[in-house]
């Protein structure tokens, strides 16, 4: 625009989209950096909001608060169980929806979509109303588990379904031609191939469960999960150890993600071994695509 600045200005204008993107990425990462930074803070009072000084004390003492540990263990147990249950029944649902034409398929799809389109307060308060009026459930771990499985199912179905839609069914036909029965075909061919999808779905369910606050807040009774502990502690000042544990969970999740990506690459290699079958039987027909109705 103005004299010598012209070149720089042009560069800025040509890369405007990328510059905005980098700024947005920074915006997304800043809070994580703050959580990490403040896990080394040595706060003067009970509130960990202003930087006082550097200490490793809280990392050394990460598991030194009994109530916090108890909440964390509850959350982990809950997340593992909710993940197992929702992944199994969600995968079965996804198989039904992708592989079969049946009466009530649209209704089933609707049933799966609608919980994802419902605000958490509504789900939480509806479940609480149900538990209160039925009266035979005591609020606590079991009601939390019921709730967590409920909101995880839909996400599992969506993730596994997308994997099944891209599935080459010729591979199953081949297994059957080679003498495998239906169960063997499922265990030795189908399952390994959709495993990355199931694994991804399980990770998502785990993340949703361990992070859930709103629905848990309604249905926990006196049971305290990790997010509920944080909410309770927020009023009286959150111990720095919470930041430490949050970062440990963060690094742990990163490592799991890395593993998942590696596994996925391996699975992709597995499928790419088979020779091209240009013009062969069923070539070009997207595998598993149900006849659209």
């Amino acid at each position: 625009m103005n004299g010598q600045g012209g070149g720089a200005w042009r560069w800025l204008r040509e890369h405007a989209v990328q510059i905005v993107a980098v700024l947005v990425v920074l915006y997304m990462l800043i809070p994580i950096a703050v959580i990490f930074g403040f896990s080394f803070n040595d706060p003067a009072g009970r509130y960990n909001f202003t930087w006082v000084g550097f200490t490793l004390e809280h990392w050394r003492n990460a598991f030194g608060i009994p109530e916090l540990n108890e909440a964390l263990v509850t959350s982990l147990k809950l997340a593992v169980l909710a993940t197992l249950i929702s992944t199994v029944i969600g995968t079965l649902m996804a198989m039904a929806l992708v592989r079969y034409e049946f009466f009530g398929r649209r209704a089933a799809n609707f049933l799966i979509v609608i919980p994802m389109a419902t605000p958490e307060v509504v789900m939480g308060s509806a479940l609480l109303s149900f538990f209160l009026l039925i009266g035979s459930f005591s609020l606590g771990f079991q009601t939390l588990l019921i709730a967590h499985v409920m909101f995880c199912i839909s996400f599992v179905v969506v993730v596994v379904r997308s994997r099944l839609i891209g599935f080459d069914r010729n591979l199953e036909e081949a297994a059957k031609d080679l003498g495998a029965n239906s169960f063997e075909t499922f265990r030795l061919v189908t399952l390994p191939l959709i495993m990355p999808g199931i694994f991804g779905a399980a990770m998502l369910a785990f993340a949703l469960s361990i992070d859930d606050f709103v629905i848990s807040n309604f249905n926990s009774g006196t049971t305290v999960t990790f997010p509920l502990y944080i909410f309770g502690a927020a009023q009286r000042g959150i111990p720095v150890e919470v930041n430490v544990i949050a970062m440990i969970l963060f690094f742990f999740t990163c490592a799991t993600m890395g593993l998942a990506t590696w596994q996925q690459r391996r699975a992709e290699k597995m499928t790419s071994v088979r020779p091209d079958q240009e013009g062969g039987v069923g070539a070009g027909v997207p595998a598993g695509a149900p006849a659209a109705t």
Binding site: V24, M28, P31, V113, A117, P119, V149, S162, F213, I230
Partner: protein, 282 residues
């Protein structure tokens, strides 16, 4: 025969769980919202006044929820589109790094992320000094304002906007974009007339995935707002868990769900349904 029963067997456990613990509870929510009486002795009595009373008392929080959620969705869209576009078309070997950055916030707890914003926006923070310098922070103060709540909502739901837009941009056949250029469209014309319409399903899905949870949220208003920034979620939460006024809370919850459902249906009529139904359109 087996083929006919198989899908129902596969579907059974999950469908039963969703019916019993999602659909049936909605019925109980409706029933509770028509109860009358005082705590301890609520009884069902078609007490429709719960609805009119609750709406009259809390209409400001209702309107505020939709305004905050709407603004947060708009800001999220403005931030997410350039990022998704960059990841899909410009990032090259940096693509995975960008994608990691988008999902990274999910790896830390929602509440702690929101509390981190409390630190970032506190009055002593350098961020607030900069905003103050730019004239964006009246009286050097950001925390406990509507702006802070909207910023928190925008931040927390941004990945839900980025990912669907990225997915739909990534699926675009680049030959269509090249065709636009071959036909002498400028870069801007190609974007507005080819790229943007083709990414519409992602934009629709992203706005819904942002707006719906944002309008029911109460964590951001709790930590980043003040008493005058309470959203409808805060009211429902407090009526249920602190004041045990179940019928009023249930009525509000039901209205919130109905309002969102209507908004979503209207929106989908305009924007097409393939986004919500996912790959079903295939």
């Amino acid at each position: 025969m087996r083929r006919r029963v198989a899908p129902y067997l596969l579907l059974g456990p999950g469908a039963a769980w969703l019916l019993l613990f999602f659909v049936v509870p909605l019925y109980y929510l409706a029933e509770l919202s028509l109860n009358s009486g005082v705590f301890g002795s609520y009884e069902f009595s078609w007490h429709w006044e719960n609805y009119s009373d609750a709406l009259q008392l809390y209409d400001t929080q209702f309107v505020r929820s939709f305004v905050y959620a709407g603004l947060a969705t708009l800001f999220a869209l403005l931030l997410a589109y350039p990022l998704a576009y960059t990841i899909a078309f410009k990032a090259g070997r940096w693509r995975n790094v960008f994608l990691f950055a988008v999902v990274a916030p999910f790896f830390t707890t929602y509440l702690i992320r929101t509390l981190a914003w409390e630190t970032i926006l506190s009055d002593q923070s350098p961020v607030v000094s900069v905003l103050d310098f730019l004239g964006l922070a009246p009286e050097g103060h950001v925390l406990a304002t509507g702006g802070a709540v909207i910023a928190g909502l925008t931040y927390n739901f941004l990945p839900f906007m980025v990912l669907p837009i990225y997915a739909s941009l990534e699926r675009i056949d680049e030959r269509l974009i090249e065709a636009g250029k071959d036909l002498y469209a400028s870069a801007a014309q190609t974007f507005w007339r080819v790229t943007l319409p083709l990414s519409a399903p992602g934009v629709v899905a992203g706005t819904l995935l942002t707006f719906i949870p944002a309008s029911g949220d109460y964590v951001n208003a709790q930590f980043l707002g003040s008493a005058s920034n309470q959203m409808i979620g805060n009211v429902i939460q407090s009526l249920y868990l602190k004041q045990s006024d179940y019928p009023a809370a249930a009525a509000l919850s039901f209205v919130l769900m109905a309002a969102i459902l209507v908004l979503v249906l209207v929106y989908i009529r305009f924007a097409g349904s393939e986004a919500l139904m996912g790959e079903e359109a295939v």
